[in-house]
Amino acid sequence: MGIIIGIFEEGMIYAILALGVLITYRILDFPDLTVDSSFPLGAAVSAILTVNGMNPLLTLPIAALAGAVSGLVTGLIHVKCHVRDLLSGIITMTGLYSINLRIAGRANLPFFNMETLFDNGFTTSFPTFLQPYSKMIVVLIVLLLVKLLLDLFMKTKAGFLLRAVGDNQTVVTTLAKDSGLIKIEGLVIANALVALAGAVMAQKNRVFDISMGTGAIVFGLAAVIIGMNLFKNISFIKGTTAAIVGSIIYKACVAAALSMGLVPQDLKLITAVLFLLILVLGGVHKKKVKFRA
């Protein structure tokens, strides 16, 4: 039972990251490598603020804001300096590494003896039978809130434009809107979500570590693609659900591989094979055809 709870805790935190990747990869068609650094950025901000005595809950919006700024930087580099999408992400990712070290002050910042998002007056007030699930419940609340807001946002006028710019940039231009600005907006929202995931992760692990972002983008992409393949032919609204489910499945596969006593060296290979199986069984991922003016 504990393992299942663990899978959901981890899976749902990474699902917040997957929602961010959903926006960049799926909606904007932008392979955004900023994620590998904006995830630890959120963690660093949340950790240092918590260590300095701020309410852990309050650190979350601030971490998201920091992530938003990192998305803004990538967006500006891409749109205003005309740097290719992949490279703009790499530039921000590289620079953020140093900034993350500066923010946290060190490469590893633990806060074991502090109140965290998961260990405070609210969670200890849960009845005993709910205690084992308290972390899961907190993550679930954050995740559902994020998903709900994102789903709602996608139904607003601004959300329509965001979806339109990834689908067909020409339509946005003929609507007399600057498609570059909208791309930036998408990157801002996506990286805010990724940093929020990082902050929640730091709160759960009670530690910030500079290397915690390594492979974050790979995870996010895998979660989104697995989810999308499981629920094919769906409109975006279900896309958020798909990304969340994809994230949990990915974590479950890793846990299963570990439990089956696989040699750790082979773990990545097993993950890759599972990933491939899901892609193949789910049908080859058809990339939407893009038209340019």
Partner: protein, 326 residues
């Protein structure tokens, strides 16, 4: 059809994971989890020593102990997941290296399972222990802080003229930071000056050395994972410049460093195993202060010394081990 196959696969994987856990819980002997952060000779020695140490105390694998060994391969996410899993299925978790120790500590905080860590350079700074070396949670372990004083003393004995020691460290490795700090604080007592150069990845090493080497008389290694992994690159440069490198562990001396007064991880592991035995017998882990490695395992490489035209003073040679003669 495909969808069914797919869901079948997912269900199968989940069921398999559940049954194997149930299997582990049914054991009557102790299940001890060993969670190692990275694949690395020093850390491997910790693990081997830990198992030996427990065996010496009467906890023998296959008789009354079952080991679950996992390696996170330096993946932080995986480390968390391994820790969470072990916190559930094991009676005691041995965590090797700082990030793994933090993950295990955090995961076991709720379940109350004891955590025994090793290869942690700064348990207090990593918040695994309080200032007295103890904790109010079920955690204790061993610290592999380098015997910096002994190392500096040895360098002084071998190189009486040397003034500046170069140190390469990885900015992302928290162990290296604390070790470096210790070197900087202690160096003056032996009339040395430390020149440090930070790198972010192994690829930065050649350039960093090109700048660092002309400024220093010799180099000394921390237990920095990145630098140690790229030791061949380091030695290539230092040999070309005819400057000796002092290691932080015997393996490095075997691989071409001049000498080291390093941590002996095998015995550190054994001590850690003894701690675990104490905990299994009922002592609350938090009440046991963490132990530190006892330095003094001096070793040197006479071939390297000959190449560099350096004579190892007799006093040093007498107390040390020549790794080429093993």
């Amino acid at each position: 059809m495909k969808k069914q196959l797919l869901s079948l696969l997912v269900v199968l994987v989940l069921v398999l994971s559940l049954t194997s856990i149930a299997g582990a819980e049914a054991q009557k002997t102790y299940t001890i989890g060993i969670a190692q952060f990275a694949e690395h000779p020093s850390l491997d020695n910790c693990r081997i020593g830990f198992i030996e140490g427990l065996a010496e105390a009467g906890y023998v694998e296959g008789e009354n102990v079952t080991y679950v060994v996992q390696n996170a391969q330096t993946d932080m996410g995986l480390a968390q997941q391994i820790a969470a899993q072990m916190a559930q299925e094991c009676d005691l978790v041995c965590a090797i290296a700082t990030p793994m120790a933090q993950a295990a500590f955090n995961a076991c905080m709720d379940s109350g399972k004891p955590v025994i860590y090793t290869a942690v350079s700064d348990p207090v700074g990593s918040m695994l222990a309080n200032a007295e070396g103890k904790s109010d949670k079920a955690i204790t372990g061993s610290c592999d802080l380098l015997p910096v004083e002994a190392q500096l003393k040895m360098i002084r004995a071998i190189l009486p003229e040397a003034k500046k020691i170069g140190i390469l460290y990885t900015t992302s490795e928290t162990n290296s930071e604390s070790q470096l700090k210790l070197y900087q604080e202690t160096a003056a007592a032996y009339d040395f000056e430390i020149v440090a150069s930070g790198i972010s990845t192994g690829a930065d090493i050649p350039l960093a050395l090109d700048t660092l080497l002309p400024q220093v008389d010799c180099m000394t290694n921390l237990t920095d994972n990145t630098v140690v992994s790229y030791l061949a690159v380091v030695l290539d440069k230092t040999n070309a410049a005819s400057k000796p490198v002092f290691g932080s562990e015997i393996e490095q001396v075997k691989n071409g460093c001049l000498a080291s007064e390093g941590v002996e991880y095998l015995s550190l592991g054994k001590e850690t195993g003894a701690l675990a035995a104490q905990v299994l017998e009922g002592t609350f882990a938090g009440d046991i202060a963490f132990v530190s490695s006892e330095g003094g395992d001096m070793c040197y490489n006479s071939e390297v010394a000959a190449q560099l035209n350096i004579t190892i003073p007799e006093a040093e040679a007498a107390r040390g081990v020549d790794v080429t003669k093993e």
